[in-house]
Symmetry: C2
DNA sequence: ACGTATTTGTACGTATGTATC
DNA sequence: AGATACATACGTACAAATACG
């Protein structure tokens, strides 16, 4: 299970375990994770370590957490936004203000799309950029 | 300074203070932040709260932290990568493995560039995508 | 509708390890 | 070698939102 002597931090070990469960579908999108005390007792680690592990997965955009527990993030429908010639695209984490305005959970980056001196911020969890020839 | 009665968590208040210092240039890129004990005593909060505040800024991509302290992230030279027609671009946070492989710090998202069934992962802190007409 | 239990959130403290200066 | 500074990990307590009977 979890080996506190392995050199790998226990919170990271738990994050790895749950991440694998998500990746292999053992924990399906929308499904609830176990509660913090459950992980705590099952793996014999402190609640602080459990919370750190869960925070990692949240930052990776794999789960969302509410007062009633954590769930595997469901895949959002991606709006395919066409971008045209001379467009410059970068990506970064949103400020907290941007996060609220865009309505994106933790662990979701944003696109910064610049064209003609005009700048647009797009939520990374529901936007795919498609290069369309001849478009602007 | 920091008001523990304000309703806003103290770790968030500290994160807000330091973020503002970074945004207004009071803390310049490359410059060291104060040490954890310094924040602890200056604001009269626990070290755990200081560490949470610093973790927030790291996740936002604003600072990097090493054993010798935290520094404001310097802006990396952006390689402008041309992308051509029918390319699909998404963004997300990297897995930890990807982070190590790409050599990007915490708080830096990646581009996923798909073209002709080929998929490429690009570091978000040193890549800008430019749509170039006629390119593939 | 109400109280209770559950579950996460915040905040503190302590101790020890390890890399850096 | 010693001091500094961050990293890990444990514990406690209480608050607040949610779910349940």
């Amino acid at each position: 299970m979890i080996d506190s002597e392995s050199g790998v931090p226990v919170y990271r070990q738990l994050a790895d375990i749950v991440r694998r469960q998500i990746e292999c579908g053992e924990l399906a999108p929308g499904q609830r994770l176990r509660t913090e005390p459950e992980y705590e007792f099952e793996y014999g680690i402190s609640r602080a370590s459990v919370r750190r592990a869960i925070a990692i997965l949240r930052q990776e955009g794999l789960i969302t957490t509410s007062r009633s527990g954590s769930r595997v993030r469901t895949v959002r429908a991606m709006a395919e936004v066409p971008i045209g010639d001379e467009t410059r695209v970068t990506t970064r984490m949103p400020t907290e203000m941007e996060r609220r305005q865009l309505g994106v959970p933790e662990g979701v980056p944003v696109f910064v799309v610049e064209q003609d001196g005009d700048q647009q911020i797009l939520a990374g969890d529901r936007t795919a950029l498609i290069v369309k020839a001849g478009r602007d």
